[in-house]
């Protein structure tokens, strides 16, 4: 049902509970204020994961009436719910009208991630053992095809052995299914462990198993085939597709960024001439290919970030280090 047809009192109740645009308890009478504070305190219960307006169900049957719906990870018997955590069956709104509530079990909410079993494609989950990141691109050296991603995704930051199995999707995204090896680690750039800013790339290649050569999708999000590369410049608008945050955009702020990146088990690794952007990534996006939005040319390989920005290796350094070309249909 479109929002326009949703009863006004339900929208009022939703606003009141969310607290953002609804009346503040301080602006209401003492009784209403206490009521709303109590309702809002229900959200301190980690079992409540969302709230909305949906059709009320009684004994698993839809009643045809809309109500205020509290979504919980797990629905407990009323006798097992603490008094202060109980969702009241009816809730009054500011003009003293009442709305019905309902509690619906939805399980644990997780962000959606880009994962699939086939075809092998840029922007989807890949990994080695327990490490999971993003498949950057299908690339080619001579007549062989490889997966390009980060060293910390495919090569345990240079501590893995050549020939180790690469799985698709990555370990955290395979659920109960058996790990699917699709490639073997074939090359990586070892980090120089120094207090100086000396490293240029966090990159590795894994040779794709013969049985998956017929299951390749060479497309790269927003990149124009045949693929070409471009040097980053300040102010460039960029796009990427990553395992965790999906399709996002950013802006280049600096093309000679120097940073000390703490790698688990290795300590701080110093990088120079990196490309610093507004935030476009989240953990799990490592290995994503970054594309110049204006030209559709490939500009970098994402590898690090924080709340204050995202960082990628310039693509010229990556191709120079691993000597490959981007494969296309």
């Amino acid at each position: 049902m479109p929002k326009d047809h949703t009863p006004k009192e339900l929208l009022q109740a939703l606003d009141m509970i969310r607290g953002d645009s609804g009346p503040q308890p301080e602006s209401l009478g003492a009784l209403e204020s206490t009521h709303i504070k109590r309702i809002r305190s229900i959200f301190e219960d980690p079992n409540i994961v969302a709230i909305g307006i949906a059709e009320k169900e009684t004994e698993a049957k839809a009643t045809g009436e809309l109500c205020l719906s509290f979504y919980v990870e797990k629905k407990h018997a009323k006798a097992k719910v603490k008094a202060g955590r109980m969702v009241p069956p009816v809730m009054s709104v500011a003009d003293r009208t009442a709305v019905f509530t309902d509690v619906k079990e939805v399980g644990k909410l997780r962000p959606q991630v880009n994962r699939r079993a086939t075809p092998l494609q840029s922007g989807f989950s890949v990994g080695r053992a327990a490490d999971t990141g993003t498949l950057g691109a299908i690339v080619q050296k001579a007549k062989k095809f490889f997966i390009l991603s980060n060293s910390h995704v495919l090569a345990n930051c240079g501590r893995a052995k050549i020939g180790e199995k690469i799985i698709y999707p990555g370990d955290v995204d395979r659920g109960a299914t058996k790990a699917q090896p699709v490639a073997v680690l074939s090359d990586f750039i070892a980090f120089e462990r120094s207090a100086d800013f000396v490293n240029h790339v966090d990159a590795a290649l894994a040779e794709i198993d013969k049985e998956f050569l017929a299951k390749l999708n060479f497309s790269i999000f927003r990149a124009k085939a045949p693929f070409a590369t471009i040097d980053p410049v300040r102010g460039m608008k960029i796009v990427k597709r990553g395992r965790t945050s999906g399709d996002t955009e950013g802006t280049v702020k600096d093309v000679h960024f120097s940073a000390l990146i703490p790698y688990p088990g290795l300590g701080k690794i110093g990088f120079m001439d990196q490309v610093f952007c507004t935030t476009y990534s989240k953990p799990g996006d490592s290995g994503s290919i970054v594309v110049d939005k204006a030209t559709g040319k490939i500009v970098g390989l994402h590898f690090a970030g924080s709340a204050s920005g995202s960082i990628f290796n310039p693509v010229g350094e990556v191709t120079k280090a691993l000597k490959f070309r981007f494969a296309a249909e």
């Binding site: 980060n150 940073a259 000390l260 990146i261 610093f276 990534s281 953990p283 996006d285 690090a304 970030g305």
Partner: protein, 81 residues
């Protein structure tokens, strides 16, 4: 006021000094975001870090001495993602 090339050179020459004084990353950005003209060197230091980051970096060129402003940005270190 420093231009982009001068700010880049200041970072290249003295970025390590900033790192030794607590910066985990060193950038160059337009100064307007920080209320300054031209380009500035940005020293990213961890939150609550009592930094001894200088307010400017100086270096010599054939045309004379150049001074580039340094601004401090408090941020968590960047991590592999």
């Amino acid at each position: 006021m420093a231009n982009e090339k001068q700010a880049d050179e200041a970072r290249r020459q003295q970025g390590r000094t900033l790192m030794e004084r607590g910066a985990h990353a060193v950038g160059v950005e337009e100064g307007k975001r920080y209320g300054k003209k031209g380009y500035v060197v940005v020293a990213h230091v961890p939150p609550r870090h009592n930094s001894e980051i200088p307010s400017s970096l100086r270096f010599s060129t054939e045309e004379g001495e150049v001074e580039v402003p340094v601004v401090v940005e408090h941020s968590e270190p960047f991590k592999p993602e």
